[in-house]
Symmetry: C2
Amino acid sequence: MSVGNGYSPPTEERPAVAVDVVIFSLFENDLHVLLIKRKTPPFQGLWAIPGGFMNLDESLDEAAARKLAEETGVTEVYTEQLYTFGSVARDPRSRVVSVAYFALVPFSSISHQPGEFEEATAWHSLKTLPQLAFDHSEILEYALQRLRYKLEYTAVGFQLLPDQFTLSQLQRAYEIVLDEKLDKRNFRRKILAAGVIEETGRRTSEGEGRPAMLYRYKDDSVTEVKTRRLFP
Amino acid sequence: MSVGNGYSPPTEERPAVAVDVVIFSLFENDLHVLLIKRKTPPFQGLWAIPGGFMNLDESLDEAAARKLAEETGVTEVYTEQLYTFGSVARDPRSRVVSVAYFALVPFSSISHQPGEFEEATAWHSLKTLPQLAFDHSEILEYALQRLRYKLEYTAVGFQLLPDQFTLSQLQRAYEIVLDEKLDKRNFRRKILAAGVIEETGRRTSEGEGRPAMLYRYKDDSVTEVKTRRLFP
DNA sequence: ACAAAAGTGTTGAGAGTACACCCATGC
DNA sequence: GCATGGGTGTACTCTCAACACTTTTGT
């Protein structure tokens, strides 16, 4: 039944609204993204960014969080709305407007380890991406660009690491995502000067070499944007 | 009739998708935004950002451009998607997801001058904003923040000026939007070093004082992002 | 003792900022 | 000739980038 109320369009003339969540994680010295293999046409057999339709009783942000939890079992991680994709023919079956999000999940917090549950879900290195369904290559490209950009002038890098981490781990995270080598002394000076992390007082106990100080980020400063770029 | 195809939600369970366009222009030494007075409940009598529902045969960008043309008669101006607002109760009548855009229009190109056609449409200075309907205050706040941010590290400032402009006009535009005074010599040096504008060879002929060189922006560099902030 | 990773300062270059006077035109 | 806005250069400060050795631990 049509629900036209004289102000909003009758329901037959409404597009479907989906959320797609680009889920990044860092492991094996590489940035990875979670993809799902499509079992049905169109684009059968191609990989796609996890997503689904928004329910009427949830906000967009809630829909994104729900999708993220469904795919990774993770809640309370850094999530940010990316862009809304609304070309007419982006889904060949019907009109779908898709609100894309990206999420940064520490690998240690993921309950679905690679290939553990559904065979059709897998982490892919950004260096060896398969062909993607729909306009998902474009979405992923956009997400990666945004992630790099964010890292350059904010301190979201923490969000890819466990609660406590060493400065070397953090530097490695930045190097992997930005795909460039950073100077150790300059990195430490800058990240400490930014005032967004603090010593825990504890040190790493295992591993080779000298034990390293463990840091944590200060909760209040996580999303705070720095006035100057950290890594221009 | 419901259109459930087994893959996307039946139409009764789809939100309406709207686009709202925050239209900025610069005149009378002030930044202004175009607002529309609501004639019907809810929020009757309050001002709102121009917007409307997307049609199924147009993309989101096209819907935004259409809205912009309807309100100002202007096409081909700088338009950028801002954010998508999707709280459950943002519209008390029904579920509406709104994709917000912002546009920069040179005042000289506007065919609807203030109050010329519909009484219910008017330009408002950002210094004296009325109460707004729905979550439009939030949208406007977000748009202004984004505009300022863009001006700080790109050269979109031109988009608020006519095709040809003087450096003083451009500086005034930046000063108004950023709401701070800039040094004349430093401004000129930076904006010229950025290489995004060029002399036309012509000079202003009317007005008091010494005639000023007219500049235009180089088309290809309009949207190009500078690596360094222009005005940090 | 040696391998492996952690930690630590200084110097030079370039960018950013502050600042004041002369120039061309209209009235 | 004076009022109005246009146009120009320099010195100082500070941030950024480059660079190498010592320390602590495990084996």
